[in-house]
């Protein structure tokens, strides 16, 4: 029915398929660790093994003493293509992503205008196909204008290239509309991504130490839990593929855990019914203990939560309840962030250092590297229904090569993103990205590997 369906499942990128041989790699992916060479031909992994020769390939990379993992698939990414000149576009956003080890990004539709019609999806696809050095996957708005009233043309938008629908930035407020979104998305086998926020309860900072000390408008984590609870209840009627974006509350995860148990009998052979979720790196790494309200780069939606909550998120991460880690890369120009905490737009620019932020979880001993690659490559591919996320024959030649012990220092001038609203400036992080490969082509490399 969808003539370009296979193309859609490869994402949209300007990178033409190339051939490449990576020698002496220490390979880690969700299926385990091994040493060997990786031969990529015409953008696809042709062979993984020892002593491969690359007579047919023009380029050979040596990965000696480096680690090679699948490229990151980031399920929550903001590019504001078509916006003002200071807004992130496909060119700057994809370079930032490649810098941070991301080879595929699912972009959100809360742009201006929103991605809510097949015509806009088509325009976005064309721009991604000419400007982006990573694979772009598109999320369509779940309702027209993201207003929560009228469902958009999921079928025609899918024909043009969307893989999911969401009103990200808004919760689909009407329970009836949410039901219809889930049902209509199920008809076309699309994932519904919910931004869970009861906007009557939400505010600017986690309800607790910051709101008590500074009087900021409270945004209790319950504002998220209420919607998560509501949605998993609606899901009991509809089934489908429901994904919760940027979960910040450990209690939301308790609800999701309970629901995952409950819906086990709904799961069919085709895996048509499932609930998944992502948590961002900033909710896993930062707590209100270090939030400085004079630094609006800490302002994000949902807000940074308490240390106690963060510790519980980490437990859920190692228990496997969190399906994937996202960047929620949300670039904003300096002049918009240069204001007081409550007036500042929410969002953190993090694509450029996304791999290092994720790798910190390994460095800190929270999860193994194998588990990390499952979380940032294998699982997101499964959520979106892509054959990707493993270093294996027949999979896309999307690879990340890094030096585990080399330390980088985050500096504004090292960010490719137009958004310098990064709360990690001056932080030292382990795991330097040496090369990011998309479709068999090196799209980012540190000087040392060339």
């Amino acid at each position: 029915m969808y003539k370009s369906f296979l193309v859609i499942m490869q994402g949209f990128t300007s990178v033409e398929p190339e051939s490449l041989l990576i020698k002496n790699a220490h390979i880690v992916d969700a299926e385990g660790e091994r040493d060997g060479d990786i031969l990529i031909e015409e953008g696809l992994i042709k062979e993984v093994g020892k002593g491969l020769n690359g007579r047919k390939v023009s380029k050979v990379l040596s990965a000696k003493s480096l680690v090679v993992i699948p490229g990151i698939i980031d399920i929550h990414f903001h590019i504001r293509e078509g916006g003002a000149p200071y807004e992130e576009d496909f060119s700057s956003g994809s370079k930032a992503a490649a810098h941070g080890g991301i080879t595929s990004a699912l972009i959100m539709p809360n742009t201006n205008p929103p991605i809510d019609s097949p015509e806009i999806v088509s325009a976005i696809r064309e721009r991604a196909s000419t400007k982006s050095c990573i694979r772009i996957f598109i999320t369509g708005a779940a309702t027209r204008g993201r207003e929560g009233k009228v469902i958009t043309e999921y079928g025609l938008m899918k024909k043009e290239g969307i893989v999911a629908v969401s009103d990200d930035g808004n919760t689909i407020k009407s329970t009836f509309t949410m039901r219809k979104c889930l049902e209509y998305a199920k008809t076309f086998d699309l994932v519904v991504i919910e931004h869970a926020e009861d906007n009557e309860l939400s505010g600017d900072a986690d309800e607790g130490i910051l709101t008590i000390k500074y009087g900021l408008k409270p945004y209790p984590k319950e504002a998220e839990e209420i919607i998560v609870g509501r949605d998993v209840t609606i899901f009991k009627i509809t089934g489908g593929k429901l994904h919760f974006a940027h979960i910040s509350s450990a209690d939301s995860l308790e609800i999701i855990k309970f629901s995952k148990e409950k819906i086990k009998n709904l799961i069919d052979d085709n895996n048509n019914n499932r609930i998944t979720c992502d948590v961002t790196t900033h909710h896993l790494l930062i707590s209100t203990d270090i939030v400085d309200i004079k630094n609006t780069n800490f302002k994000v939606n949902p807000p940074i939560r308490s240390e106690e909550n963060r510790q519980r998120l980490l437990e859920f991460l190692s228990d496997g309840l969190i399906d994937t880690i996202s960047s929620d890369h949300a670039p904003h120009p300096d002049f918009k962030k240069f204001t007081d905490f409550s007036s500042a737009p929410a969002g953190i620019s993090s694509a450029d250092i996304f791999f290092q932020l994720c790798y910190k979880l390994v460095v800190d001993g929270i999860i193994s590297l194998r588990k990390l690659t499952e979380l940032i490559s294998y699982n997101p591919a499964r959520i979106l229904g892509l054959k990707a996320g493993l270093i294996k024959e027949g999979f896309p030649g999307d690879i990340l090569i890094f030096s585990p012990d080399e330390v980088i220092e985050v500096q504004e001038n090292t960010l490719f993103s137009k958004g310098k609203n990064c709360c990690y400036i001056e932080m030292k992080l382990k795991g330097k990205v040496e090369a990011t490969i998309v479709n068999g082509k090196v799209v980012y490399s540190a000087e040392s590997i060339e």
Binding site: M1, R144, K149, V150, I151, T152, E153, Y154, G155, L156, F176, T177, K180, E183, Y184, K186, T187, I237, T238
Partner: protein, 314 residues
């Protein structure tokens, strides 16, 4: 409840159905005559109570009544005692006291004809109650199918298949057709997005559910498009006409290459939405036959009720 009423397909036995079809063939012959009138119901009064807008069903019943020589009286809510605050049941009692013999009723609430029949001794014919049933439409659809396939006995229907495409959730036509056709053992596919598909309908009626028009649907003997009922619901079930048409509309490139299929639609059609004009007016289309057959079947129903559920034509 007083006399024989037709409220739901559930109330009809296979014998009733066969009898109504048999009489319909006779009435169809009457409609072909120069003078389309038989005297059977002379002196009887049929009240047409349409609490919801209708053109074809009301005119169809009115003509059917006249062709069997019954007198008709039209009742509309505008300017009626209902508007003055009289309850539905009291209105029905009043009409009953005025000497009406048959009450043809359409209402936007499910079950109204059943309540009316319960509280009066008139014969009630359900001409569509909300999203529940439209039994005379199902009977005329069956009659149309049998005429097209040159069948006389309803038992010959069991080898055939019907696909019903569109908004099943809000469709009384779909419900009555499914009930009637399943009684006869017809294989049924319903084709709809999940937004307009009652959950569990496959198990309740033992039918097949599909999201899209596929090969199996195109292989059915009859493909019935349903009206996208824009007046009944906001755009939360389908986003746009063009999307509905793209995925669920009966289009010339799919349909016109088919052989021996029959395309049906209960009307009124949204041309270019659930059905393209080229399909609606094609050789495969039985849509105008459905309208004509509606009169014959409703004549047969009035006749059959008048005879107290016994067969035999003068």
């Amino acid at each position: 409840m007083g006399r024989f009423s037709i409220l739901s397909i559930d109330d009809l036995s296979c014998e009733d159905i066969q009898n109504i079809i048999d009489i319909s063939f006779s009435m169809d012959e009457v409609l072909g005559r120069d003078i389309k009138k038989i005297p059977t119901l002379r002196g009887k009064v049929v009240a047409l109570m349409f609490f919801e807008p209708s053109t074809r069903t009301r005119i169809s019943f009115e003509l059917a009544s006249k062709f069997v020589s019954a007198d008709t009286v039209n009742f509309s809510t505008a300017g009626s005692s209902i508007e003055k605050g009289e309850s539905l049941i009291d209105t029905i009692r009043t009409i009953s006291s005025l000497g009406v013999d048959f009450l043809v009723i359409r209402h936007n609430k499910e079950g109204v004809p059943h309540i009316v029949a319960e509280h009066s001794d008139i014969s009630v014919i359900n001409a569509g109650d909300g999203k529940n049933e439209h039994p005379t439409q199902a009977l005329l659809d069956l009659f149309t199918m049998m005429k097209r396939k040159k069948l006389k006995s309803i038992s010959d229907m069991k080898n055939l298949s019907v696909s019903i495409v569109g908004d099943i959730l809000h469709s009384r036509v779909a419900r009555s057709n499914i009930k009637l056709l399943r009684k006869l053992g017809v294989k049924i596919n319903v084709v709809s997005a999940y937004t307009t598909l009652p959950q569990g309908i496959d198990k309740v009626f033992d039918i097949k559910v599909k999201n899209f028009i596929d090969e199996e649907v195109l292989e059915s003997d009859f493909i019935m498009a349903l009206r996208l009922q824009k007046e009944r619901h906001a755009a939360v079930f389908y986003p746009s006409d063009r999307e509905f048409n793209f995925f669920w509309g009966l289009k010339e490139e799919q349909i016109l290459k088919l052989k021996d299929r029959v395309i049906m639609h209960p009307g009124p059609m949204n041309l270019g939405v659930e059905i393209m004009p080229a399909v609606a007016y094609s050789e495969l289309s039985a849509i105008s036959e459905q309208v004509r057959n509606g009169v014959a079947v409703r004549m047969a129903i009035l006749f059959y009720i008048f005879r107290g559920g016994k067969i035999g034509i003068d």
